[in-house]
Assembly symmetry: C2
Homo-oligomer: 581 residues x 2
């Protein structure tokens, strides 16, 4: 046994105990006649003391040689500390060391192993194993474990069976780009790594597994935007003999369980809003509802005056920014510059201050009188003291721009509180989206998503208006999960492929295998997948998923710690029947 206790557990009740500890030297303070060492392990920090008077000379001398991050083992007696440290669990005691063993020396680490480190992102990623010694990173990994274990417990209690699906599967041309794996034993052929276990979970439903879940790595070879990873983790779930309502209730239950067990927070029943409502009210299908600033559509009250900009706009829409009527001209100009940045893309912005005295002062007073502006306040829900900001133009684009502005102001005004959790469901997504480039409809979720029965009659006349049995769970402005009820009827599925522009042959080529399975008795089924990386980071009160992944890759898909990917030798290539181009 290398230790009798961890570095996080000794306290006043252990005084006079003989103990053995092991860990890393966090820091040393050498006062000549007395040396203090902070000894750290995963569980905490314990102060060691070497005293010229009370410590054997040989041990005392050895203590003088200790450097940061040395790995040591000590034996000693727990004694009461003179100056107690109330900030740490072990702050009442220290260890008067009698024996010291240096288990391993350490080179000076390239950055400080402290909560606030001096290491930049690149350096910390290169030496990720040292970064993990730091409390913030270590605690994120422990937190992730706690979340995934609670997910497993809840789903197991609900009767879900964790089934491992294969990683070496078949490449399909649909969706994102696959990572592929050349086969040595099957010359000229390739496996693909799964983008999700979608097909397999549907087959498990055909197989009668009824309730399936898996916490599983998925892979997408896409150009990486910030905070996207080529390999990511999904909580993947599917249920048979269910309707949308059953799924929403089950996974709302899971999320409430997590919020309660992990964060100690009880949340009300999740609001459910439609995709249409979300877009009209927040300009966004994943609204952050921790704060208001709901959109007010001003076409009726602001058009047909002499202000040509509004008159020529498809949509005039505003928000009331709480308590910001006091913004200076300079502050407002900066906001206008902000919305005009290429990333947002507005061509301009109109504002109206709703002063505390009840008067209204706008940038378009030339065209609107107090009565007009009062209506603006009514529609946007503005109160005296608020600042009304108005954008106009093409409806979709304007909503997107105003959504960006709303989120920006939510951040600036501190309304997006990391310890507040406002989950909701967004339902009734469109089944299809029109793709300008290919001039045809694409499945918004995937081709197996079922349309709402009451919308099926639109299938020939107005397919774009069909709503799907598809739903997203949104938490604090992030989509944390999404899914759908699948089609389990052959005829409807064929119609769907037709709608998506597949010939029967193409449908057979690409999806024949699942369709074939469906002929042997497919039950009604549906499911949902959570993005675990994202879910954990939001529950952790942060937004960077990389901070919650032990060994993440950078934006070029590289693991800079192990320096992967890398070249392989020709012999390996030969065996795989491939060569570099």
């Amino acid at each position: 046994m290398y230790r009798s206790h961890s570095c996080g557990e000794l306290n006043a009740t252990h005084i006079n105990n003989e103990v053995t500890l092991a860990g890393w030297v966090q820091k040393t303070r050498d006062k000549g006649f007395m040396i203090w060492v902070d000894l750290r392990d995963r569980y905490g920090i314990t102060q060691l003391i070497f005293d010229e008077q009370r410590t054997a000379k040989e041990v005392f001398e050895k203590a003088k040689t200790l450097g940061r991050e040395f790995v040591i083992q000590v034996k000693g007696t727990v004694i009461e500390r003179e100056s107690k440290n109330k900030n740490i669990a072990t702050g009442d005691i220290e260890i008067l060391v009698s024996e010291l063993t240096i288990l391993n020396e350490a080179m000076l680490p390239p950055f400080t192993i402290e909560d606030e480190t001096d290491g930049g992102e690149d350096l910390r990623m290169k030496y990720r194993y040292l970064d993990i010694r730091r409390n913030p990173v270590k605690n994120n990994l422990l937190f992730r474990h706690k979340v995934s274990m609670e997910v497993r417990k809840y789903l197991t209690d609900q009767g879900f069976c964790d089934v491992e699906t294969p990683y070496l599967i078949k490449s399909t041309p649909e969706g994102a780009r696959d990572f592929v794996v050349p086969s040595r034993m099957n010359e000229g052929q390739f496996y693909a790594l799964p983008q999700s276990p979608q097909t397999f979970k549907q087959l498990l439903m055909v197989g009668g597994m009824d309730k399936y879940y898996q916490i599983v790595k998925c892979f997408r070879d896409e150009d990486l935007r910030a905070d996207r990873q080529p390999e990511f983790t999904q909580i993947d779930c599917e249920m048979a003999f269910v309707e949308q309502e059953d799924i929403l209730n089950m996974f709302e239950g899971l999320t409430r369980h997590l919020l309660k067990e992990i964060k100690g927070i009880e949340v009300e029943k999740f609001p459910r809003i439609t995709y249409d409502y979300a877009m009209k009210t927040y300009g966004n299908d994943k609204p952050d509802i921790r704060f208001g600033m709901k959109f007010g559509e001003l076409n009726e009250v602001a058009q047909h005056k002499d202000f040509g900009v509004f008159n020529n706009s498809e949509l005039v829409v505003g928000i009331a920014v709480p308590g910001c009527a006091s913004f200076t001209r300079k502050e407002i100009d900066a906001l206008i510059d902000w919305v005009k940045r290429p990333q947002v893309g507005a061509s301009g912005m109109v504002y109206c201050k709703y002063e505390l005295d009840g008067s209204l002062k706008s940038s378009v007073d030339k065209f609107y009188d107090q009565e007009d502006l009062k209506k603006w306040a009514e529609v946007t829900g503005a109160q005296p003291g608020d600042l009304i900001l108005v954008l106009s133009g093409n409806a979709d684009k304007t909503r997107t721009q105003l959504s960006a502005l709303r989120m920006e102001l939510g951040n600036r005004l501190g309304l997006r509180k990391p310890d507040e959790f406002a989950p909701l469901w967004v339902v009734d997504f469109p089944l299809l989206e029109w793709d300008e480039e290919s001039g045809r409809y694409h499945a918004m979720h995937h081709p197996f998503t079922s349309p709402k029965p009451e919308d099926i009659h639109l299938i020939d006349s107005n397919p774009g208006a069909i709503r799907a049995n598809a739903y997203d769970m949104v938490l604090n402005g992030n989509e944390i999960g999404g899914g759908s009820i699948r089609i389990h009827d052959k005829g409807l599925q064929a119609k769907m492929f037709d709608l998506l522009g597949f010939t029967p042959e193409e449908a057979e080529n690409q999806f024949g295998f699942l369709m074939n399975a469906f002929q042997f008795g497919a039950p009604p089924h549906g499911g949902l997948a959570f993005g675990l990386d994202r879910l954990v980071s939001i529950l952790g009160g942060q937004e960077t998923i990389r901070d919650f992944i032990a060994f993440p890759k950078n934006n070029s898909g590289r693991d800079v710690m192990i320096d992967a990917p890398s070249v392989i030798d020709n012999h390996q290539l030969d065996e795989l029947h491939i060569q570099l181009k």
Copy 2:
């Protein structure tokens, strides 16, 4: 809600309840005026009854159209069954159906969905989603979930943190062949899929994670022997600040927990035997100790007589086969033929019957008298009624042959009982094994395995005799887990590389990255990995891992259900900067 109850839960307490059930038609019996349907879901089977007298005509007619594996939903009343079926949980009741909905029709399945099916292995693999509907396969998957969940609970309770390590890592020339993944974003470079997270778990120890576990897929591109899979699942564990004793205790605890929770069996403290003892006593480093037939070495008592075959043998070794003295000449000749098969490779076998009257009758009576043979009986532990079988020749080969014979007899005599569990530890494995082909030593476990301190002095004089801090857990004749205490001392590690024939440059090239991490304060650490597929199959009382994998691959590494691997198009190859050879 598609159902108010599952097909496994209704019993006499529900009589007169109105219920809704959904599931698959297992079978129908149509007596003209009465139709019975067995309705099946994951949870069980419930009998439905359609009665010409009591069922609406339309419903009754529809019931006549039901075929095997149709997916249906029924509403009806729970009534007491006339002829009760004590074999199933719902055997006291049946459902008098009032409403019937056919949710999906089904083509006739290619094999029967029964516990004993008429489908061969190939057909069942092709339609694995139908195979999973069968109780034996479904129950194996549920059993696997139960085992993995108990593993997680135990390790979590013991303070282990589940850390997900990456799947897209770096190819290393050591060990088995890697599966590789061409990188699109890094031209000419490849990721490798992990053969195990060995490096990452050691880095997590350097990172202070202290106790790590993961249930993780691993990949080896090896020619597949029977019951090997290119992707397999490991319970991967590592601990810091531990000695071998700590690890053995921890994972013995895990296995005892599993046996107790899963099988309801309390086992004694696991026996620990050395590799040397295992080889000498069982001819095997993973002995099945559910039965005896320990080896007795007969050199002393059987050599130096006139029997040249024994005199010229390095080893003469026998086992006492319990109660088999009564074997006929023909039975013994068949056994002799069995050991002479090329798969076993013995050149002959000597036998000696220890008759119930105490007399001994051997095939070499010409050379040995009763006194001599009595000694054979003593050494092999034979009792009257036993049959002593003796092989001789080169020591290693003879032990392997006798081990094969011992296992064969264990099987034939029914001594390898699937419901009996006899775990043990095999410890003190050799650090190195001599490889004839390359004319150098190889690491028996891996190059980071630490030698026993008391053997380090042999490092120059007799490295082959050095024992390692390496251990295997063996259960019923299968290695279910193995691991080692790792080297954490730079100097010793360099010496080890030297011993393995690496130049310092080669060591740096191949392992520099981990060695570099070790310079920043590596704690003493060690670990173990269980093969989950194997563990689950043995706990399930079976030996074929494929039966416990939802979607296994065949011996050519193909998934015959989805037909993977497959060709991919040239555009994909182009993007990956590779071409077929």
